[in-house]
Symmetry: C2
Subunit: 112 residues, 2 copies
């Protein structure tokens, strides 16, 4: 877990999710119904396996994501948002709106 | 400038401000009326001079911040938000609300 830099809610939030990858995994679960390691790897940003494994572990430690076996007969894991993870929806929508309005060549990806 | 990873507005926004420091400088200008290099250094998170110089340069390149001489007889610079920088206000408020609600020991810092 990263050390807390101050009591500022902005700084404290960035301590947790202030990087280029963590919120993309939350996005994939929240908006694209992705739940498995391979599905996250398939996203267009091209996350590497080691960063993905690291961020999934971090998201679990933060209580934003839980994992469970994909089926009774599988050791493969399925990742889901907790209630706390779901609470990021408003923030992700605010980021989406800012990006769509202010950054060229951005668009809501189509559902596959 | 960081390379664009996809056309997703979330990923594209994180390409620009997805790190632990950039938004803290925007916060300092927007909410604490800080405008000078030394004032940013004084913030409780303890940004280093090299990261601060790097992020100020990035914010200028992104068109979020402009700099001007602090006075007619000074070579010291004063940093201000552009209209595009000001447009981050809603997003910063969403981050603030999420942090205050979900992270322990966070509070709005008092004005000094």
């Amino acid at each position: 877990m990263p050390p807390k830099r101050s009591t500022c809610p902005i700084a404290s939030t960035l301590d947790l999710i202030g990087d280029r990858w963590t919120l993309l995994i939350v996005r994939d679960i929240m908006f694209f119904d992705k739940h498995r390691f391979e599905e996250f790897l398939d996203s267009p940003e091209g996350i590497s396996t080691n960063i993905l494994a690291n961020r999934l572990k971090l998201l679990e430690e933060l209580g934003l994501v839980t994992k469970q076996p994909y089926s009774n007969h599988s050791r493969r894991m399925s990742y889901h948002l907790t209630e706390k993870g779901e609470s990021l929806r408003t923030l992700l929508k605010a980021i989406t709106r800012w990006g769509l309005k202010h950054l060229p060549d951005t668009e809501i990806p189509r559902e596959e």
